[in-house]
């Protein structure tokens, strides 16, 4: 779909590493160039036309994000540098002030490092406990398993909507319902979810959501922190400085700005935010329902073609997202990636920043194909043809 919009796809290259980052359509690149070329002023500063235009574009991007995730209020949308920063702000700015020693946070072993390491530090510093929701035989999270993992001390469930290795879609709405019945907060890592399917934070009823622009046709260095307004009001800014204060006459009389500006200290990635707004317009035109439906068709096609290959061990046959993870028998994942690279096919090899998944899946490293709407059935044919010939893989892996 829409391949002509992506300058890189005019080259002889097959890009299957969309879980890491997506390609950028020309309209997003043009939008950012337009800012840098024609109105490169700062936000919230000047009483002149250029700066006014920047404010308009910047705030329009915020409105586009609000509408895209169906948040209720504009001030619930905070621009950050990406999912990682958003999650760190949620953990260190909100939960660090709320939780007490022995309070429990539930995560899973398939979370990305960004949804583990901030919690680990809080555990070391404050004595909170990190517990793991057991995964089922498909490495899925089920409500039953969550129920079993809940205790009277559970205060937070912090999980990815779609994991970056297994690609399973978690039942977020049901998890939120269960959590809220038990006075538990839900933090949703949406990095792999928001780019691929329609999302409605009000319907899901998540308390916090984090995601990145660059995985959804936007620029790098921009992300979103969504929080319910009444919670976000209590999120303490970790970074203080320009643009987020009203007055600071002395240490005891510091007045900070209202949301969301309070949480956006310093000059933001203005071109990135404006470019992100354009990316959302672009995705809206295609339709998130269409994107998700098409990715599932691609995935099914790939799985059906890989299944007969005896030397391919697919880790996540059943998953409902565009992520397919596998290993080639007796070939290290990185060597498979190098082999495919010789034919201009980009895939990811490694542990995908989900190091503790090993305890559940039993393998350290895998090859990952992560699909997006601009991938094609023909590209999958090319991949499968190369993976079909085991002798060729071994011969050409170095």
């Amino acid at each position: 779909m829409n391949r002509d919009d992506f300058p890189l796809l005019k080259e002889d290259i097959i890009y299957f590493d969309n879980g890491a980052t997506s390609l950028k359509p020309k309209c997003v690149i043009d939008k950012m160039n337009d800012y840098y070329t024609n109105y490169p002023a700062n936000t919230h500063r000047g009483d002149y036309d250029l700066s006014f235009k920047v404010d308009q574009e910047y705030e329009e991007a915020r409105e586009l994000v609000r509408d895209f995730i169906h948040a209720k209020y504009l001030e619930e949308i905070v621009f950050t540098s990406g999912t990682t920063e958003s999650l760190n702000m949620i953990v260190n700015g909100f939960f660090a002030n709320l939780l007490e020693a022995n309070d429990e946070v539930l995560i899973t072993s398939s979370e990305h490092a960004s949804n583990i390491l901030p919690w680990f530090r809080l555990a070391r510093k404050m004595g909170i406990k990190i517990n793991y929701i057991p995964l089922d035989s498909n490495y899925y999270v089920t409500l039953d398993h969550i129920k079993k993992a809940l205790t009277a001390n559970t205060k937070v469930i912090s999980i990815a909507g779609i994991t970056n290795v297994i690609g399973d879609i978690r039942p977020i709405k049901q998890i939120c319902k269960l959590a809220h019945e038990n006075n538990i907060f839900v933090v949703l890592d949406g990095a792999q979810m928001v780019p691929h399917l329609p999302i409605d934070v009000l319907n899901l009823d998540v308390d916090f959501l984090a995601f990145s622009a660059h995985k959804m046709c936007g620029p790098t260095g921009v992300g979103v922190l969504y929080g319910k307004k009444e919670l976000l009001e209590h999120l303490e800014p970790i970074v203080l400085g320009g643009g987020m204060n009203e007055s600071f006459d002395n240490p005891s009389e510091v007045i900070l700005s209202e949301l969301p500006t309070r949480l956006e200290a310093g000059t933001r990635n203005i071109a990135g935010v404006i470019g992100f707004g354009e990316a959302i317009k672009y995705l809206n035109k295609i339709g998130m329902d269409n994107i998700y439906k098409y990715e599932l068709e691609l995935r099914k096609y790939l799985i059906d073609k890989l299944l007969p290959l005896k030397h391919i061990d697919i880790i996540n046959i059943e998953s409902d997202s565009g992520i397919v993870t596998f290993n080639v028998a007796n070939v290290f994942s990185q060597d498979v990636a190098y082999y495919l690279n010789k034919y201009n096919i980009c895939v990811r090899a490694g542990n995908h920043c989900a190091k503790i998944l090993k305890s559940s899946v039993g393998v350290n490293n895998t090859v990952r194909v992560s699909l997006y709407f601009y991938n094609t059935f023909e590209e999958i044919d090319s991949l499968v043809e190369l993976l079909s010939d085991y002798d060729k893989i071994v011969k050409e892996m170095i």
Binding site: F332, Y338, N351, N365, M397, I398
Partner: protein, 140 residues
Amino acid sequence: MDKEQSREIIMENYLHPQNRDLPHDGYDAINTRNESCIDNINLYIKWNEDILEDIVFDGEACAVSISSTSIMIKNLIGKKAKEALEYIKEFYHMTNGDDFNQELLGDACCYLEVSKQGNRKVCANLPLKGIEKAILEKIK
């Protein structure tokens, strides 16, 4: 050394690596891994004064890293610390695309072409980074 000979040496050392073993008593351990967080090798070194008397390794890594570890072990055992550092320096010269001492490196010249591919230089250098660190620690 042509491309096919290089490949044969690499594959032979990958499939049948020298001294892939668990350490015995009296070995110093050092871990070496690369930034892409995949290759992960533990080296175990037995010193006899300033001579590398024995080196064994275990771990998980790609064909280039495993084979490079094997070749390095084979070529460094019996060398004095300073001779080993000289060898490592020449290896880096080769993988950096600079002039290097072919005679000294011997079969390790098989990485001349491979190290020009993508990130493979890092894989080839990986074991040498580890042993270099261990040697510098020893002689400081």
